[in-house]
Symmetry: C3
Subunit: 440 residues, 3 copies
């Protein structure tokens, strides 16, 4: 009975048309062109490498896409157990007409060829969006992205700010900021002004969020203009060799300034807390980052208190931080739980973390899921995974354990999947509904 119940709830949730509130899609090239773009996703390269495939076989320069796929497919055997492998199979089944459980050296070429053919169709990206029941996806844009050449109501801009906060000591970053804002930056005043111009540009192009990923030891605090000026001069002079105290002060100053502009522009500030970059130095591209799970949201106490008008959708990298996230979202009006990030984006952690949030965080303050994808083809299997887990938790913990009606459980699921994305990010008003006209 519980299995049938889960299936019914899943079917209802899977019928919804959604907005994906965080991806790394390139709006000018959103979908894959060959299966190599699919298998080039860091999950496959890093897991293949982790299970023994040499990095240079994966990252050989000018490698032919088909040869890259041949090599990777040959090394996916050891990762067939992973949930990431299941995304690949479900994608192939739903989008490429594959009919099987495993893609191996025996059967991969047909998949490759079908992919090449379908992905060459001019409306492939729209086909994928439609099949995935996604009407829009949020982007992750560099601060100097011109945000031109695409429909910002389908590909919704989001201002990514890691470079501004942590890498302003690199001359290239400073130069990019000067060029993007058409001004020379020589002090705190001009820096603040430049950041303001970036916000204006993003706001004018329908940006719906500001976002940043943060290392475990970051603990934001305000910095006076005087202290920031000293820090800025040191960092601009000495670059990444400036004293840590100066680099930290400048990071704090920029971060706090971003929050001020988020307040002014009424933009939610996505905080993605907990990543250490480059831990495995010889890892494949995007497969080098890990974390120290000893992080606490108490580090953000001052921030959450200082900006009551800024909504902070918070993602945490480690499941052990999820209870703190649950508790902080339960107490702070401006803290919202946001999806299941990266190393916590696997079923066991999602199930545990989701169940905890559903019981104690107001239902209006939970963003259920985002795909974090780089290519559109992954929206479908990643959201499907989440919806299955959501259906399981709703069935077991609400219908069975708490005696809820099925209808009420589905309504709660819908809120996490769709309604809250609209309300938290103030989007969805001008939706891409023509994409789904045929279905409607």
């Amino acid at each position: 009975m519980s299995d049938a119940l889960r299936q019914r709830i899943f079917a209802e949730l899977d019928a919804l048309i959604l907005i994906d509130p965080h991806t790394h899609i390139n709006a000018l090239d959103p979908a894959s062109r060959t299966l190599a773009d699919v298998l080039g996703y860091h999950y496959y390269t890093e897991l293949a490498h982790s299970s023994g495939m040499p990095k240079d076989q994966i990252e050989q320069p000018d490698l032919d896409p088909k040869e890259k796929c041949a090599r990777l497919i040959a090394r996916l055997g050891p990762i067939q157990n992973t949930i990431q492998y299941s995304w690949f199979i479900e994608m192939a089944r739903e989008l490429l007409g594959f009919d099987g459980d495993l893609i191996t050296e025996e059967n991969w070429e047909a998949v490759y060829d079908t992919a090449t053919e379908r992905m060459a169709q001019v409306d492939w990206a729209d086909q994928v969006l439609r099949a995935s029941k996604l009407e829009a996806v949020f982007l992750t844009n560099d601060f100097d992205d011109p945000l031109e050449g695409f429909d910002t109501h389908v590909y919704i801009p989001c201002l990514r700010t890691d470079d501004l906060v942590f890498h302003l000591g690199r001359s290239t970053v400073r130069q990019r900021l000067e060029q993007a804002t058409d001004r020379s930056i020589d002090g705190v005043g001009t820096l603040r002004d430049a950041i303001g111009r970036i916000f204006e540009h993003f706001a004018s192009r329908n940006a719906r969020a500001c976002a940043i990923s943060l290392p475990p030891d970051f603990a934001p605090q305000p910095v006076s203009d005087g202290r920031a000026e000293t820090a800025l001069q040191s960092v601009f002079t000495q670059g990444m060799d400036a004293a840590p105290s100066h680099r930290q002060a400048l990071s704090n100053f920029v971060f706090w300034t971003l929050a001020e502009f988020c307040a002014e522009h009424r933009l939610p500030f996505d905080l993605m807390i907990g990543v250490n970059r480059g831990v495995y130095a010889d890892g494949v591209f995007q497969g080098q980052d890990l974390y120290d799970s000893r992080v606490s949201l108490i580090q953000y106490q001052q921030l959450f208190n200082a900006f009551p008008k800024v909504t902070f959708p918070v993602s945490v990298l480690a499941s052990v931080t999820n209870q703190e996230l649950t508790s902080y979202a339960w107490i702070f009006p401006n803290v919202v739980t946001n999806g299941h990030w990266w190393y916590s984006n696997t079923p066991t952690f999602i199930e545990h973390d989701l169940a905890a949030r559903l019981e104690a965080v107001p239902e209006t303050k939970q963003i259920g899921y985002y795909s974090d994808m780089y290519k559109l083809e992954f929206g479908l299997p990643k959201f499907r995974m989440y919806k299955r887990i959501l259906a399981k938790v709703l069935a077991e913990r609400f219908v069975v354990d708490r005696g809820w009606s099925e209808q009420r459980a589905v309504a709660l699921g819908k809120r996490l999947l769709r309604t809250n994305v609209e309300s938290v990010f103030d989007c969805g008003g001008e939706t891409n509904i023509e994409l789904f006209d045929a279905d409607a």
Copy 2:
């Protein structure tokens, strides 16, 4: 089959008459007078505030109880998913004759009126205790509570010591201590003597425990009288502005002294570990506290070793500390697991934490649950929630996974719910059985 099994085990557990070993009940005013006392519970005010209700609408001075309820009810929609909301509904159904799943702007007034009527009955508190199958509840008494005017075998005193350990630098606290003990406190000797008098007073009034809540960074250690004297003089002179080292030394001295008196009076010392007070400065009353989950019981190593004769029922605020608690109770004879506290008092965490304890801590060393309630009406729904989870864990993990008989599983549940409360706190000998005469 598993569902029916859970129901049968729950029914057996729900038939037991219990003692609630930790509440914040005011013995002189134990039950609610109107529904505003119910909805004034911080869970509802903080969750309503978290989901958007302005604090001043909740905490307006001299607010009429009915108007307060009208306002809160109108803002509970976003928290209908929470387990805390389910406590409210179950309480209304069981104690107020409400028949429905949601209390909204449409139907709340009848509930309000019924509540006002029933709560005005002279034996309402006893009715609630009887319906809740609670024969006695532990209190949380200030050190200067006269403990008079109530039956200490129904409302069992417990000496709460946060003020003594952490706030002795406040002149009001010192004055209260001097008045309560009728002596001037000017040094370590008189302070120890005063604390001894407090213990004697509490012991003479049937106190069954000493208790304290502790911040995550507290790590108790003994302090010599000489060092304590220096610290005390500094703190008494400079108050809360005294150097942190002095304040910390005095806290440690008082804490250690409390443990010594617990040994002398054979009182268990409830440690509630991990709370940071006032994290959300603008939160509603009792809705400002959070935590840093980076705490370890290794901080209590010296204490547990130094007082082998004192039983420490330990509660931890974060579920990530539960495995340490389980392990420390498995090794240290004087460490007992105690309930599921505050931010860990939601089903997902209770289920995980309870299951872990049941497998590895001697069954005699686990206090299953306490309600932590401020008004008697919450004992029923909170204990019911726990008993449902306990029945689930016993059914799934003992009867199904380990092949236990149903009878044996129920016996284990009974031990956690009732027997251990009696044995650990040495209570239950003179029980309030006349309350249940009619039922018996």
Copy 3:
């Protein structure tokens, strides 16, 4: 249906013949001689003590084995709920013909007598191995163990290195090293040479792993020979009273040197991370250790990067570290997840930790389980416990949740239980198959 499915998967897994990759078996005395050896396992003594049995009743010198059992049996009532107690019962049922659920003061003597009789049989150890479906077990050998007098393909040596890394300041340890390597050790050069000789000895006797347990604050890093020399001279002169910085430098030097020899000899280096020794000073033998769960694998970042050719099977003491272990094994090619250690070796933690690993770590990089046993009789019940949980996770999370075939799920289970032990530790080629000839 799910229950029957679990049973079928369990039956398939339970039919496998395994190698136990970590135990504390004494190869010259591998099995128990009386029931006192069974009940002398620290789990029973420490849990009995924790629930009230005085230490001196357990550890009285020259205590008769039967009297020891009589005393312990009388005190096991409070621990009948624990999973450790279930190991005892399952062992007695499967190996001693006991037929019941509880062994108490009423029925223990028959069990004792049967045990004495059976354990006296000359082939008892082989009987136990056969009944347990274990063809070989790894040992935990002191660095100066002669490794003689046993079949190293059944009792596979493993070089335990805690003494070398942490206790070289004790003159007895230094003397043992000098004797074992037949050389005087007076500096870094001779120390490195001695360690090399130890490795050669172990390698010549079929050692398949090097192993160490590590405290939570250990963070290995390379130390120059010059710095190591200074540290070594200080530690050799002042022993355990040497400055912490010197002791730490020497520990780091020895640890790093061990990793270098592991690389040279292609030996996996088992890291068992997180234990604090002697936390409960008055605890029973082997019942004094606990932990601080605030540990991170980021502490091992430099090590994992520096030794890409050394496989590190990693065990973590606390379940809260399991997600980091999962993530590090997902990224680092040389990190392998290894079993469920000590305080995490109980069903709730195993289930959660195992499920997380199965979803995200390449299936070739997971060592499912080791028994950690001191006497052979515990292999059977401990592996059974694990296999039941593995069957549950495979049934619920792979067959039901992910639609896998039963056959595929069993194959994954087999890989964790058997195949990976062979491939990671390069063993199993010369197996003890004659032990199972009768069954085959």
